[in-house]
């Protein structure tokens, strides 16, 4: 640098540097205020545009116009890229269009921002469930159950748990489903339909004891609920408590005469109660008559099964039914009222043969109906004995 060039600058700085800095500061403040004004206008416009597109998107999402909703939410995101609600609704719309991968990308991003968000976890769980990623699905479902929810969190959490249970039942994880159901049942409100729904799920999970208990709670709150009555009847039936089943099913059929399933079940329950020779408080004659009728029915079942086996060439029926048929034929002359009265031990021997026939024909020739079904159920009832 040349000294002569330096001198004017030096005098300039010495005399005016503070003044210039003050001027620059003032200019900076004025510019800052001016840009602040512009910024307010800009941000207000951005907010307004974002809201406008979001409102349109929400309306289209509700109307299930997913394609439109997607472009509208994307437009909204142009003005507020990180807006959580915009992204979440866009993901919902994408899910509506079955564009799962794109939705997943948004959801996972939202999850990273707020891992405790219930809806995001639930949607991620659904996607994982669809993709068959069971471990991930369970993780997200559990997150959703314990997550933060807007509005009524208890209801949302309960619904998330219901969904998890349905998913577990769908993948045949019945034990896991039972434990979730027990947890759910422990925190249910006094709402009969909820208890009935839980009881239905218990039935699907084949936990009939808990199912019956839940149906009872439901009926306590609403004793005329036909579906709860039917459910309770079925649960009692599955538990082998046919007298109880009969009572519930009678009430169910009375409440809803169109309930054919309950009617059929009731009929079977009545048959079971009627055909069981070992039930208490029946006379010897009555027992003997039941044994004779059961023995005859078993013989018929054996014949029809053997006929089916012969026409279809079923190996299984060919193996076992001849010996059963021989035994049945050998015993038949003794199974009379007189024979049974003379030799009461025949009651048990005859019924054992009847049960054997019903079990084996059930395996070889398919599920029985009517009196054969009743005898099969009675055989299961006395299996332990």
């Amino acid at each position: 640098m040349v000294a002569s060039e330096k001198e004017p600058g030096l005098r300039f700085y010495l005399s005016r540097e503070p003044l210039i800095l003050a001027l620059l500061s003032a200019l900076a403040v004025v510019s800052f205020l001016a840009v602040s004004g512009l910024s307010r206008i800009y941000h207000a416009q951005q907010r307004s545009l974002g809201n406008r597109w979001f409102t349109r998107g929400t309306a289209d999402l509700k109307a299930r116009h997913f394609e439109l909703a997607v472009t509208e939410f994307r437009a909204a995101l142009l003005y507020s890229r990180d807006n959580y609600d915009y992204q979440l609704d866009l993901a919902e719309a994408l899910l509506g269009l079955k564009r799962t991968d794109e939705a997943y990308a948004y959801l996972i991003n939202l999850w990273e921002r707020e891992p405790e968000n219930g809806l995001v976890n639930l949607e991620l769980a659904r996607i994982a469930a669809q993709r068959g990623e069971t471990e991930q699905a369970l993780r997200y479902y559990h997150n959703a159950i314990y997550a933060i929810w807007p509005g009524d969190p208890e209801v949302q959490r309960r619904d998330a748990r219901f969904e998890l249970i349905e998913y577990l039942l769908a993948i045949n994880a019945k034990t896991h489903a039972q434990s979730e159901l027990i947890a759910l049942a422990a925190n249910l409100d006094d709402d009969p339909s909820l208890h009935a729904r839980v009881a239905d799920l218990f039935v699907q999970a084949q936990d009939y004891e808990h199912a019956l208990a839940e149906y009872r709670v439901s009926l306590k709150l609403d004793r005329h609920n036909p579906s709860a009555l039917a459910g309770a009847g079925r649960a009692a039936f599955e538990l082998g408590r046919y007298d109880l089943a009969q009572r519930y099913l009678e009430a169910a059929v009375a409440a809803n005469p169109n309930d054919a399933k309950s009617a059929a079940l009731l009929k079977t329950a009545e048959l079971v109660l009627k055909m069981d020779p070992f039930r208490r408080q029946i006379s010897v004659d009555q027992r003997n008559r039941i044994v004779i009728e059961a023995f005859a029915a078993a013989g018929e079942r054996l014949k029809s099964c053997a006929a089916v086996g012969n026409t279809q060439g079923s190996a299984s029926s060919a193996v076992s039914t001849p010996s059963l048929a021989d035994n049945w034929a050998k015993m038949k002359p003794q199974i009379t009222e007189q024979g049974l009265r003379r030799n009461p031990d025949l009651v048990e021997a005859a019924m054992n043969l009847v049960f054997d026939i019903e079990r084996q024909t059930n395996t070889a020739c398919g599920s029985p109906t009517g009196i054969d079904l009743a005898l099969l159920l009675i055989s299961k009832l006395h299996e332990g004995n």
Partner: protein
Amino acid sequence: MDDSPNSQTGMLVETREAESLVPRRSRGALLRAVFREERLFLVLSVFIGIFSGLAVVCFRFAIDWCRIYLLGSGFTLSPTRLLLAPSLAGLVIAVLVIHVFPLARGSGVNQTKAALYIYNGYIPLRTPIGKFITAALAIGSGHSLGPEDPSLQIGAGLASALGRRMRLSRDRMRLIAPVGAAAGLAAAFNAPISAVLFVIEEVIGRWTAGILGSVVLSAVSSVVVMRWFLGSESLFRIPAVQLERPSELIAYSVLGVIGGFASVAFSSGIATFRPWCKALPRWTQYFQPAIAGLLIGIIAVLGAPQVMGAGYAYIDEAMHGQFTWQMLAILAGLKIVATLLSFVSGTPGGMFAPTLFIGAMLGAAVGGAEHVLLPHLSGSPGTYALVGMGVLFAGFLRAPMTSVFMVLEVSGNYSIILPVMVANTFAYVISRALQPVPIFDVLTRQDGLDLPSMEEQREEGILRVEDAMRPVTGPVLDAEETLDRAFQGFDEKSPDVLLVRLNPTGWSSISRQELDTMIKEGKGGQTLSSVLAGRQIPYLHPDHPLEMALRYVNRWQLLPVVNRADFRKLEGVVSEHDVLGRYRDFGEG
């Protein structure tokens, strides 16, 4: 000069001599002036940052307003607007650029470099104003250009104007444009470190403490201002980044190779078509941006509106797996075409954002394709897109250091550094091999300027003292010897000057003629140390740049080159003849 003790000694000798040439009072004034100007320059850097930040914020507003009013506020745009907006805006831009703002055309980086190396820091205020208006119009109407380069130039222009008002010295004025450029770029990128690095790497070309402080201050203050108004969110939502196995680096290497070739295709396109467009009759320049806009509009109408504008929203989508890999590859190709059209037609705007767009699309496409072939790869599309951005930055803009730090700064994730470095290296090497002249230098030469190439500067060989020094031929005298004894040391073969080793340290020299004269004056019994008191000469080390020797060899016939660990151990000597001879050989080589 470095700060080793012996070097300081060398400098001390020079400073003492310099001091003797300057009157005491004037010297004090000079030092005060330098100090005051340095301080003022630092304060001014903060103001430059603030004003640049404010200008860039307004620039962003202007681009968005142009987009909303010209293209519409929705996500799906009407075909009529897609065709008309960039075409009509192109016509307006052409008229403005030809008649009102001729310097708004071209690369802001090169114009800032030109201000630094040619125009003593002078950038007319009309240039940033023109750049602001025309670039906002171009980007907002859908031309495939980015806001970073114009922001850089707006910052540089404002800084230059401010420097002129402050009547800064020529040296400071030269540096003020890069300071403003760093501020503008930092605000546009929301990435101060990358902006500082880029300006150092591509504009200034060297690291000096004097300028670094100002560049950092301006970049930081501009980013603070920008974040005040626009928030601190980065340009894209950054996805989770992971690298589970080192073997996956091979997958990123593939991206680097493909990115290298894409960079070459992109820069070759610009290098070929830009002069071709410039060579067309002058009247066609009125229509070139409009035709480019129309063609871009057609691309958009045909199904790729993503190529319009800077495209940050789509980079964000690519990072989050919103496109298939086939679509990503198509978008990368179309963006190269669209950017070529916009840039070679002379439409003002930058190439940073398009480069990032192409890189992100290409990266995510390569990542997606690799996932199809090798499903176990852990990298997400976002990771590949981030690495891809760095790859194009390294391959196309040839800023290898900035490319690495930009990805790190934008992603905020250190674990991505390995993939980025590996991929960038491949891209950089391929790009250099196939396109030896970097794109900024290509543009400079096309514009008829001869600015220093930063890449060449970085890699040019440096001559060192060891390249010029020669072994000691004559005896080395000891300071305790008498003059008579020293004279005996001279024989027929001895050089005219001999070095004298002083005690306890330091070096001096004495010529045969001096010695002869002193002996004739009757000083033959005196020791060399007594007659050479205060006549120390500077000494050099073999690794010193040869430039340093050049400072001394015209005053001292022979300079000692000594060992750094033992200053009394002579490695060789160097004279003016040796230094000039080496430079001559180097030039011929």
